[in-house]
């Protein structure tokens, strides 16, 4: 079984973003970038499926700027076999929208014919939570989103999903798209030898233009601002004082 995992290069989750005061956006030049945390979980799951003998090959794909090669190298160091970079822009501040990403991925799927695509549930920069569902829709495949458990058997994936009221288990016929949630696994740390080994693994390059996908945004970003900031309130010395303040000052009790 072949697994395709799309991995996105995003601002590191520990970095506090700086919003430009002129409303033109967030500055991404010279900030620490990492693999989207959900995509690490997706790569980890694919690698575990390979270790269990369920999967035979793992291909990782990243769409964006040339620097996304670093993200692909990290995925290769975790255990992916091959990587594909789709060069879609040279502007580090341009985000490629989920629809365009899904279109590009569908081209790769047509060429690579994976049995399973495992994506993150959400990119922590644009917070869209859309690409996996869009890709499944474009391909006419089944989908299982927000997975906290994946089992492959008899040509289908049995997936436990994190949903509003708790958990739901569904079966989805392969080929399918699964998106992963936080509880699926804990990604491994990569060792130095595997980082060295990853440098020798194949990394192909394509361009969005050559794949004939228009990445022009459908959503025009008119303005980006910082939300209103909260100010720290007061220190209370005791439970009694807290109750008194909540009753008489805040009026919420």
């Amino acid at each position: 079984m072949k697994i395709l995992v799309p991995v996105k290069r995003v601002i590191d989750y520990n970095v506090k973003v700086r919003v430009r005061t002129d409303g033109s956006g967030v500055d991404l030049a010279n900030v620490k970038m990492s693999m989207n945390p959900f995509d690490e979980i997706a790569v980890e799951e694919a690698v575990r499926l390979k270790e269990k003998g369920v999967a035979s090959e793992i291909v990782v794909v990243s769409i964006g700027v040339q620097q996304a090669k670093d993200t692909l190298r990290s995925a290769l160091a975790m255990g992916a076999d091959r990587a594909i970079l789709i060069d879609a822009t040279s502007d580090v501040n341009q985000d490629i929208e989920p629809l365009a990403v899904a279109r590009l991925l569908s081209r790769i799927v047509e060429a690579e014919r994976p049995d399973l695509v495992i994506a993150g549930k959400q990119a922590i920069d644009n917070d869209m939570n859309a690409t996996g569902q869009m890709l499944a829709g474009l391909l006419g495949w089944g989908q299982a989103t927000f997975a906290s458990k994946i089992e492959i058997a008899d040509g289908r994936a049995v997936v436990t999903r994190e949903v509003d009221g708790g958990l739901q288990t569904i079966g989805v016929r392969l080929p399918a798209v699964v998106t992963v949630d936080l509880r699926l696994n804990e990604p491994r740390y990569v060792s130095l030898p595997s980082i060295m080994k990853a440098k020798k693994k194949p990394l192909e390059e394509r361009t969005a233009a050559a794949l004939d996908v228009d990445v022009t945004p459908r959503l025009k970003i008119v303005r980006t601002v910082e939300p209103p900031q909260r100010v720290a309130g007061v220190r209370v010395a005791s439970v009694d004082e807290l109750i008194e303040k909540l009753k008489n000052q805040a009026g919420v009790l």
């Binding site: 474009l138 958990l167 739901q168 939300p227 109750i243 805040a250």
Partner: protein, 308 residues
């Protein structure tokens, strides 16, 4: 211009609060038709028809729609789409599963978590865990979006609007339901509760999380949790508040043993009043708290529960 609103239903019951809040977001956009897609949805359809701003309810009943599977629901919505300028839903796990697929079928983008509607093409949505807010203009012929319900108040009631049956489309049979492990609770729902009490890693164990639940019950509150508390098994996954969990904005949010990582703040910083209880006086949560109580939660929480 008419809006198609996908109603959130669970086991044939309408999630009234989520739909009513979404309706107030949609008010500037024109007439709203609500789509109830369920196994049996007549009761949910009647309930939806009585919410202000709804001019018609479309009821699609079919076995394939019973469990919220994305493929039949998305195919149904796409088949109805031609009459609509907007297709919307509350930003819940149910709709986030379905609407992006609908958008792809229609070859348009989706906007997640809209917090303000400025007009037919102009919307605000948070990005980067709520550390920035974008105003975006859609250039698509149909605008597909989900609404962050905590940013809007619920609409009131009206005389029932008409309910019209529509045919479900054939089930593509790509996926099948196996099991729901839903926790039925008497407590208020996280997304709509007036008070939320949340516990974090500091609570220490699943057993001691009971103290958080007791405090919540005493306050008539919903219970929330940080990601750490969920990962450690102190609390179920659907209690997670934050960037990648639920977003809440109650009148009162009580954070106990939670440090205040940006991913957690993203889910609660729009609460009216925030109380933080933490033994570390430098915990970042205190930067957003209206009332800060520094101390050991193991003595503070029982005392608070006792005195309320």
């Amino acid at each position: 211009m008419t809006v198609l609103l996908l109603a959130e239903t669970h086991q044939g019951r309408l999630a009234t609060d989520a739909v009513a809040r979404t309706l107030s977001a949609l008010a500037p956009l024109g007439d709203v038709h609500v789509l109830v897609a369920a196994g049996e949805g007549a009761e949910a359809a009647r309930e939806a028809a009585s919410l202000k701003g709804v001019s018609k309810v479309l009821l699609a009943e079919s076995e394939s729609l019973r469990h919220g599977l994305a493929e039949p629901a998305a195919a149904l919505i796409a088949s109805l789409a031609s009459g609509y300028r907007h297709i919307a839903a509350p930003a819940t796990a149910f709709a986030r599963n379905i609407l992006p697929r609908v958008a792809a079928l229609l070859n348009v983008m989706v906007l997640s978590d809209v917090i303000a509607v400025h007009g037919a093409e102009s919307f605000d949505r948070p990005v980067y865990a709520g550390n920035a807010v974008q105003t975006v203009q859609s250039t698509d012929p149909v605008v597909v979006f989900t609404v962050r319900t905590s940013a809007f108040a619920a609409v009131g009631r009206q005389e029932g609007a008409p309910v019209e049956r529509v045919a479900a489309v054939a089930d593509p049979g790509l996926s099948s339901w196996i099991e729901d492990m839903a926790v039925v609770s008497e407590r208020p729902e996280l997304a709509s509760a007036r008070v939320v009490v949340s516990g974090g890693r500091g609570v220490g164990s699943k057993e001691s999380f009971d103290a958080i639940i007791q405090l919540a019950d005493k306050m008539g509150a919903a219970v929330g949790a940080s990601r750490a508390a969920v990962d450690l098994g102190y609390a179920p996954n659907d209690w997670q508040v934050g960037q990648t969990g639920k977003v809440v904005a109650p009148d009162l949010y009580v954070a106990v043993g939670i440090s205040g990582a940006i991913q957690h703040l993203a889910g609660m910083k729009d609460s009216k009043v925030i109380v933080a209880i933490n033994k570390d006086e430098d915990a970042p949560i205190f930067k957003v708290a209206d009332y800060a109580l520094v101390g050991d939660l193991f003595s503070i929480v029982p005392e608070l529960t006792g005195k309320l």
